[in-house]
Symmetry: C2
Subunit: 456 residues, 2 copies
């Protein structure tokens, strides 16, 4: 770190990491410049967490009705006006952009619209059109985000093969949609368009859906996909994905060909483009190849003295709340408010599609001690006719080391689970807490108090 606290802080990127860094820096008395080339809010607000939640909520009644109708408890139709939903989404995002701009202004932060063209020691160069500006800094916080991954033969072509942003902006649902990638993004978008009547086919080269999660979570996801009638194909290697005659044409490794009106590529995230001059300032990268050039950071989130990298661009945890937490820390560290290493505790991760998934801390490996409970006995899950799934606890030395849940409303347990894992609860602590009845959380309680056994 710099030997004396920074006075001039430059933050690059106004996503969750950069925005919080700028506000924290200003609150700490620093002179803050925030550089953003596009919209305030980054991927999360504009093409990620938030628009997907709008579309999931706007289509929820379709699934609620379907679940009740399947049990012959209700009948009817719910027709979502996707164009109207998109118009409302735009309005809400615009309102959020305005609110964020006002917050920055109120905090005395200078917002510069432009591209980070290069970095030299103590100077960030911003380009906007043909203009450039050198902005001096004592500390620099890079919150550059990440890019949607693509590979030769599997990348958006702007015709029928698309990235996340245009798919989240559809104003009429496509008749059919191929989704490549069965991670959080692929699963949430599957849920949205399935509810809107689109015939969805999901493929992933990984041997199971939600491949980053507990294998038993993947089984529940597969079960829900079958129930919904989604053609989900884990273990399917894509040979090529192209637009042909205006439609998306997917060729699988075995030769099978699938076509659809549109296709979405959601196969992960690449590191952001390397900033000219950054390496020369001392920054280090995880890997020299351009797509894997995540900015490597140390204990204090610095990649070089006075140069911090927060959020996606450091490749630690690609989640908005992780970015925000790192942004706050980096700004405090730059301002001399803390010198302790960055230690945020466990970071929760949620999927908000059908089914919802929540995980914090360790995933159970074979031989790990676990306890669990199924949602089938939960009265709230029963009432919603949506009882698939479970909560599972991983124990280490008699303390909670990880919690995973999949099923109705599992995402609502995220904060509670984070507290329990971060405090490494014992069984006795769980026993002593009075959980409100009835609640989905009671399945987590049952898991915490369940028989502890070694995972097969």
């Amino acid at each position: 770190m710099t030997s004396s606290p920074a006075k001039r802080l430059v933050v690059v990127g106004a996503g969750p990491g950069g925005f919080e860094a700028a506000l924290t820096g200003a609150a700490a008395g620093l002179d803050v410049v925030l550089i953003e080339r596009g919209k305030l809010g980054g991927t999360c607000l504009n093409w990620g967490c938030i628009p997907t939640k709008h579309l999931l909520a706007a289509t929820l009644a379709v699934e609620g009705l379907a679940a009740q109708a399947k049990q012959k408890l209700a009948s009817g139709t719910v027709t979502v006006d996707l164009a109207a939903v998109q118009a409302k989404k735009k309005k809400l995002l615009a309102a959020t952009h305005s609110a964020m701009a006002a917050t920055l202004k109120k905090a005395g932060i200078r917002l510069v619209t432009g591209n980070l063209a290069g970095v030299a020691p103590g100077v960030a160069q911003v380009a906007a059109g043909t203009d450039t500006e050198d902005i001096p800094f004592d500390a620099l916080i890079l919150a550059l985000g990440s890019r949607a991954a693509a590979f030769p033969g599997v990348k958006p072509d702007g015709q029928a093969v698309l990235g996340v942003a245009p798919v989240l902006d559809f104003t009429t649902p496509p008749e059919s949609l191929i989704i490549v990638g069965a991670g959080a993004i692929g699963l949430e978008i599957t849920t949205i368009y399935h509810r809107l009547g689109t015939k969805v086919t999901m493929v992933d080269a990984a041997p199971r859906l939600a491949p980053a999660e507990d294998p038993d979570v993947s089984k529940v996801v597969a079960q829900i996909m079958r129930r919904l009638g989604v053609d989900a194909r884990p273990g399917a290697k894509v040979e090529s994905l192209v637009t042909e005659d205006g439609r998306a044409k997917l060729t699988l490794a075995g030769g099978e060909v699938l076509t659809a009106e549109k296709a979405l590529v959601a196969i992960g995230r690449f590191a952001p483009t390397v900033v000219p001059g950054l390496a020369e300032c001392g920054a280090v990268f995880a890997d020299p190849s351009p797509n894997r050039a995540w900015i490597k950071t140390g204990d204090t989130l610095q990649t070089a003295p006075g140069i911090y990298a927060v959020g996606d661009c450091n490749g630690r945890v690609l989640l908005a709340h992780a970015a925000a937490s790192q942004g706050v820390y980096a700004a405090r560290h730059a301002a001399g408010q803390t010198s302790a290493p960055y230690a945020p505790g466990p970071i929760p991760g949620c999927y908000y599609g059908a089914p919802e998934i929540m995980r914090v801390g360790a995933i159970a490996a074979p031989g790990d001690l676990i306890s669990e409970a199924a949602f089938v006995a939960n009265p709230i899950a029963q009432a919603h006719a949506d009882t698939a799934g479970f909560a599972r606890v991983v124990w280490k030395d008699g303390k909670v080391a990880g919690i995973t849940a999949v099923g109705h409303g599992a995402s609502t347990m995220g904060t509670l689970a984070t507290v329990i894992v971060s405090q490494a609860w014992t069984r006795e602590q769980a026993e002593a807490l009075v959980f409100p009845h009835p609640g989905l959380d009671e399945t987590l309680k049952a898991a915490l108090l369940g028989e502890v056994k070694a995972k097969a």
Copy 2:
């Protein structure tokens, strides 16, 4: 308490308190007899928490569609088949009864069906039809529950004026329904039947809806009732409520007369009927009048040596999870596993209607230090087009002493809020926790980190 641990435990009442007491006693090695006159599960399972949740969930898509339709985001109809929902509810309750009976059997607990006819030192007398049986005990745990309150002129007559149980069993929604009582039960049943198309009129003598909660919560409830088109009348004193010509006829103190197809009396709970011989065994009561004869208990939930009272019947907290917690404690105490006073920490309470309400710990009084945040800025609430309400934190000596929330999904914060209040978090603890984004809990985070000010 008895000088040596009990061997023979008799538990009376198989609601949440008695059921947990019996299982805990059996697990501790006691010889347990459980006496129940009716159905396993008590009020909670049969006529309270659980059936209301089934009906709320079964009708949720109606409200989801209505919220989206109001913003012209969706159109359609959802018609709930109430008879089918009731049939499913019965099936689920029957399955739960069977599962509970199997659990008791597996634990070696003898279940006796009958009425507690009287108590003498060391003996409980059970009557079933014309048979009676004397069951000896070393310790007795009374989990007698409570009765629906009624007053002369305002009580169910079994015709058009009804108690909760028959209203929760309707197989066709009434065209109109008067609900007397704007507490948790009245509000949840208002939500259910409003969604089913019933014209609901709600009256309460208290000056505001949800009178046990923060007055600002009542304002949000009133706002939602207006939005839904429910005729809610706090401050309306009922003079009489009778069946006339097959319809419910309500006369208010001012002389105004309202009629409806049916009326529900949900004006609170009375103590259970006093058990013959209980006073002679040394039990004490909160008040000699029959309706207020809550069984008074000391630090260890005993009302007399070896005689415990848990759950509603002791008048402490009329909530299922409080009863269960007390039942576990009493059985452990009787078995000699604990001698510490009963200290469960804060007990959360939730309302699951529209809007949801959650509260744990202190309610803010004028002059108290509070901080708060509104749901209007929460992206999940925005996505659901349901942004009324707020979360509020009450601070004492720099620590959280109470949390209240009202609004979309507020009940899902119940367990988390209970942890925070029971651990008396500081602002720094809240700041250090990474909340998953986006989530309703983030409004609680914003409240915890909000500006602290004295309540007006």
